[in-house]
C-alpha cells in the first residue's frame, strides 16, 4: 500500500505527546486511508504498534524509506477512530437570539450535566432530573438576577462593623437575641427549600440553577451574621417555638417547585423584607442595623426572583393560579391551630422598637410593630395582584399567609 499522507514526528515519541499529532493526522484522513509516519525516536515502532492495538488501527514498518536512524511506518485507522462521534447529539443550543431564548422546552435526560450546546456522545448515562421542563422552572429574568446577585455579594467580615458599641440595656439585648434566633431558623428554612429543588432542576436551565445557588449562598451568609449578632453579648441563643417550626415545616415539605417558590419567596421572603427594613430602622445598635440593611437587599432579590418564576409559570400555565390559591388555603388550614408568631418574638420586636421599658416607648414600639404587620399585608396583596389575582382575591389570600411571617 502506498501512503499518500505523511507526518514527520522528528524525534518526538508517543511518550511525550506524539500521539496527538498522529491522531490529528488520522482524523483528517478518516478510517481506512494510509498515513506515513516518520520519526527518529528509538521506540517509535513499539509505540505506534501499542497505539494501533489500543485504537483498533493497523501499523506496518516500511523498509528502505528513510536514511539513518529514522524509520517510516504506515498507519491505517480502523473504524473505531470516529465511533464516538456516531450518534452524538447536541445538548440543545448554546446560541441566544432575539426570538430564541437559547433553552429547550424540555431538557433531555441524556444531556445530563453536559454544557448547554455540548456534543453528547451516544450511550451517555441518563440522568433523572425531575424538573426538566422550561414551563415549570424557567424565567427570562434569571440571567439578569443572577448577574445582579453575583455583583452584590458582601463579605460579613468587612461589611459589618462588628466592633461598633452596644450601649442599650440588657433587656433590649435579650430582645435582639430572641429576634436573631427567630431569623436564623427562618433562614435555615429559606436555605434548605431551594437547596432541595436545586438537585432536581436540569442543568440545561443553568441560569436558574446559578440564581438558586447564589440565593442559597446568600442564606448561608444570613445564617452566619444573625448567629454572630446574637452571640455578640450573649452566650446562648433564645427560644425556638413549636408553632414557628411547624409553619416552616409546611414550606419545607412542599414538593411542587412553583408552589414552594410562591409560598417561600413571594409571600414569605416578601414579608421578611419588611421585617428586615423594620430592624434596619429600629435596631438598637449599628451592627443590627447594618445586618438588617444588607440582608434586606439580598432578600429583595429573592422576592424578585420568586415573582419572575411564578409570573413565568402562570403565563405558561394559567391554571397554576388556581393551584396557588389552593396551596395558600391549604397551608392556612394546616397552620390555623398553631399559635402563629410566638409571643416572645412579637414582644421582642416591640421592645426592640421601644428601646426601653418606659410605657410611652412601649406604646410607640407596639404601634411600630402593628404598622409593620400592615405593611407586610399590603406588600403581599400588591404582589398577588401583580401576579394577576383580582384585588379582592389578592387581599383575602394575603390575609391567609402564616402569622409566622415566613
Amino acid at each position: 500500500m502506498t501512503a499518500h499522507a505523511a507526518l514527520d514526528l522528528r524525534d518526538l515519541g508517543l511518550d511525550r505527546g506524539g500521539h496527538i499529532l498522529v491522531l490529528r493526522a488520522l482524523r483528517e484522513l478518516g478510517p481506512g486511508r494510509p498515513l506515513a509516519v516518520t520519526g527518529g525516536h528509538p521506540d517509535l515502532g513499539l509505540q505506534l504498534s501499542v497505539m494501533a492495538r489500543e485504537g483498533g488501527h493497523s501499523v506496518t514498518e516500511n523498509t528502505g524509506t528513510s536514511p539513518g536512524e529514522r524509520k517510516t511506518f504506515t498507519v491505517v485507522a480502523g473504524p473505531a477512530l470516529d465511533a464516538r462521534a456516531r450518534g452524538a447529539a447536541r445538548a440543545g443550543s448554546a446560541v441566544h437570539s432575539r426570538d430564541h431564548r437559547g433553552v429547550s422546552d424540555r431538557a433531555d435526560e441524556r444531556w445530563g450535566v453536559a454544557a448547554r450546546g455540548a456534543m453528547v456522545e451516544a450511550g451517555a448515562p441518563r440522568w433523572d432530573f425531575s424538573l426538566d421542563r422550561a414551563e415549570v422552572v424557567w424565567t427570562d429574568d434569571a440571567k439578569k438576577l443572577y448577574a445582579q446577585a453575583a455583583a452584590a455579594q458582601w463579605d460579613p467580615e468587612t461589611a459589618i462593623p462588628w466592633d461598633a458599641p452596644i450601649t442599650h440595656p440588657p433587656a433590649v439585648e435579650e430582645a435582639v437575641v430572641q429576634v436573631m434566633t427567630y431569623l436564623v431558623e427562618n433562614e435555615n428554612a429559606a436555605l434548605l427549600v431551594p437547596a432541595r429543588f436545586l438537585g432536581r432542576i436540569h442543568p440545561h436551565y443553568r441560569e436558574v440553577v446559578q440564581l438558586m445557588a447564589i440565593q442559597i449562598a446568600d442564606e448561608a451568609r444570613h445564617v452566619e451574621v444573625f448567629t454572630r449578632r446574637a452571640l455578640l453579648r450573649s452566650s446562648e441563643m433564645a427560644l425556638s417555638t413549636a408553632g414557628g417550626q411547624r409553619s416552616l415545616q409546611t414550606l419545607f415539605e412542599e414538593t411542587d417547585f412553583v408552589l414552594a417558590t410562591m409560598l417561600l419567596s413571594v409571600l414569605g421572603e416578601g414579608s421578611f423584607v419588611d421585617l428586615l427594613r423594620f430592624l434596619h430602622e429600629h435596631g438598637p445598635d449599628e451592627v443590627t442595623r447594618t445586618i438588617a440593611d444588607l440582608t434586606a437587599r439580598d432578600e429583595s432579590r429573592h422576592v424578585a426572583a420568586g415573582m419572575a418564576h411564578v409570573r413565568w409559570a402562570i403565563e405558561q400555565q394559567p391554571q397554576d393560579r388556581g393551584r396557588i390559591r389552593s396551596a395558600i388555603e391549604q397551608r392556612h388550614q394546616a397552620l390555623q391551630h398553631t399559635s402563629g408568631l410566638n409571643a416572645e418574638v412579637y414582644d421582642a420586636l416591640v421592645l426592640l422598637a421601644a428601646g426601653s421599658f418606659e410605657p410611652e416607648d412601649i406604646a410607640r414600639g407596639f404601634d411600630a410593630v402593628q404598622a409593620l404587620q400592615r405593611r407586610m399585608l399590603e406588600g403581599r396583596t400588591r404582589r398577588l395582584a401583580r401576579l394577576g389575582f383580582s384585588e379582592s382575591e389578592a387581599e383575602s389570600l394575603a390575609g391567609l399567609h402564616t402569622r409566622n411571617f415566613m
Binding site: G13, L14, D15, R16, P42, D43, L46, Q47, S49, V50, M51, R53, E54, G55, G56, G78, P79, A80, A83, R84, R86, G87, E121, A122, G123
Partner: protein
C-alpha cells in the same frame, strides 16, 4: 449433584472489581439477544482451569498461560481445548526490557551479573517471556543475572499491573538494572507519570505473542458456544450500548481465536518447566 442451570456459563478470574461490572453487562447484553448467559468468578487461573474440566463452567476467559495449561491437560486426558475468540488487543503483543537511559547497560550481554526486575512469577508478559528472550539470546536467567520478582497477586498470571509498576519503580530508583514490562505499559507508565520522559530506554523487545482467549473443551454445548462467538464477533464499537463494555474490556473488536502466537510461551514453559508440576498433579 450436577449443574442444573441451562445458561451458557463463563469462568473468569476476578483480578479487579471491574470484572463484575463487565460480566454483569455481558449477561444483560447476551440476554437481550436471546442467549441465556451467566458467569462464575475464580480467584486464580489454576482453579479456573480445574473448573473447566470439572464442568463448573462452559467457557473460560483464559490468560495465555491458563490456555496452555488447559490445552496440555486436555491433550493428556484425551480431550481437545479450542480457543474460540479473543480481543483485537490480545494479538501481537510484545514485552520490553527497559534500562535507565543514562545507565551502563547497552546490550543484553551487559546484563550479566546485574539485577533484573520481573513481574509476578506466573506473568507471561512480565516474567516468563522476557526470561525466554534472555535465555534465547545468551543470558541464562537463572545463572547469569539476579532476578528480582515483583510478585503481585500470584495466580492471576500478571493480569494485575502492580508488579510491573513496582519493577519499573525499582529501576528508576536504581535498586535494579533492568525491568521487564508489557509493551503497552512502556507508554502507559509515561502517560500516568510513573516514568519521566526520557528516563528509560528500551534495551530489547520480545517476539510478538498473543494474550487471552475464550477456551472451550471438545464440542461442549456446540450450539450455544457458536452463538456466543457469533454474538461477540458482531459487537460493534460504534454501538453506544456495547461500547462501554468494550472499553472496560479494552478492545475495539473481537477476533476469531488463533493459537499460532502462543508458540513463544510454549517454548518458554518447556524450557523452564513452568507447569510441569501442575500438570502432573492434574493429569
Amino acid at each position: 449433584m450436577k449443574r442444573v442451570s441451562s445458561a451458557l456459563t463463563l469462568g473468569a478470574v476476578a483480578y479487579d472489581a471491574k470484572v463484575v461490572t463487565i460480566w454483569d453487562g455481558f449477561v444483560q447484553w447476551f440476554a437481550s439477544r436471546g442467549l441465556a448467559f451467566d458467569y462464575v468468578l475464580y480467584t486464580n487461573y489454576e482453579r479456573q482451569v480445574e473448573g473447566l474440566f470439572l464442568g463448573e463452567h462452559d467457557v473460560s476467559w483464559n490468560s495465555p498461560l491458563a490456555w496452555l495449561q488447559a490445552e496440555r491437560l486436555a491433550r493428556k486426558l484425551g480431550r481437545t481445548a479450542r480457543a474460540i475468540a479473543m480481543r483485537d488487543s490480545d494479538q501481537d503483543l510484545r514485552s520490553a526490557i527497559l534500562v535507565r537511559a543514562d545507565g551502563p547497560v547497552k546490550s543484553l550481554a551487559d546484563l550479566t551479573g546485574r539485577r533484573v526486575a520481573f513481574g509476578a512469577s506466573d506473568s507471561p508478559q512480565a516474567t516468563i517471556l522476557p526470561k525466554l528472550h534472555l535465555a534465547e539470546n545468551g543470558v541464562d536467567p537463572d545463572r547469569d543475572i539476579t532476578a528480582q520478582l515483583f510478585d503481585v497477586l500470584v495466580g492471576k498470571h500478571g493480569d494485575h499491573i502492580g508488579g510491573e509498576r513496582d519493577a519499573v519503580k525499582a529501576l528508576l530508583a536504581g535498586s535494579v538494572d533492568a525491568a521487564c514490562v508489557l509493551d503497552a505499559n512502556v507508554l502507559g507508565f509515561s502517560r500516568d507519570g510513573t516514568v519521566p520522559s526520557g528516563a528509560l530506554r528500551t534495551l530489547a523487545l520480545t517476539e510478538p505473542y498473543d494474550h487471552c482467549n475464550f477456551t472451550v473443551l471438545d464440542d461442549t454445548r456446540a450450539v450455544d458456544v457458536s452463538r456466543f462467538a457469533e454474538l461477540l464477533l458482531s459487537q460493534d464499537y460504534g454501538d453506544p450500548v456495547v461500547r462501554p463494555l468494550m472499553d472496560l474490556e479494552g478492545l475495539k473488536a473481537w477476533r476469531v481465536g488463533r493459537t499460532a502466537l502462543y508458540a513463544p510461551l510454549e517454548r518458554a514453559i518447556d524450557r523452564f518447566g513452568t507447569i510441569e508440576h501442575w500438570l502432573s498433579e492434574h493429569a
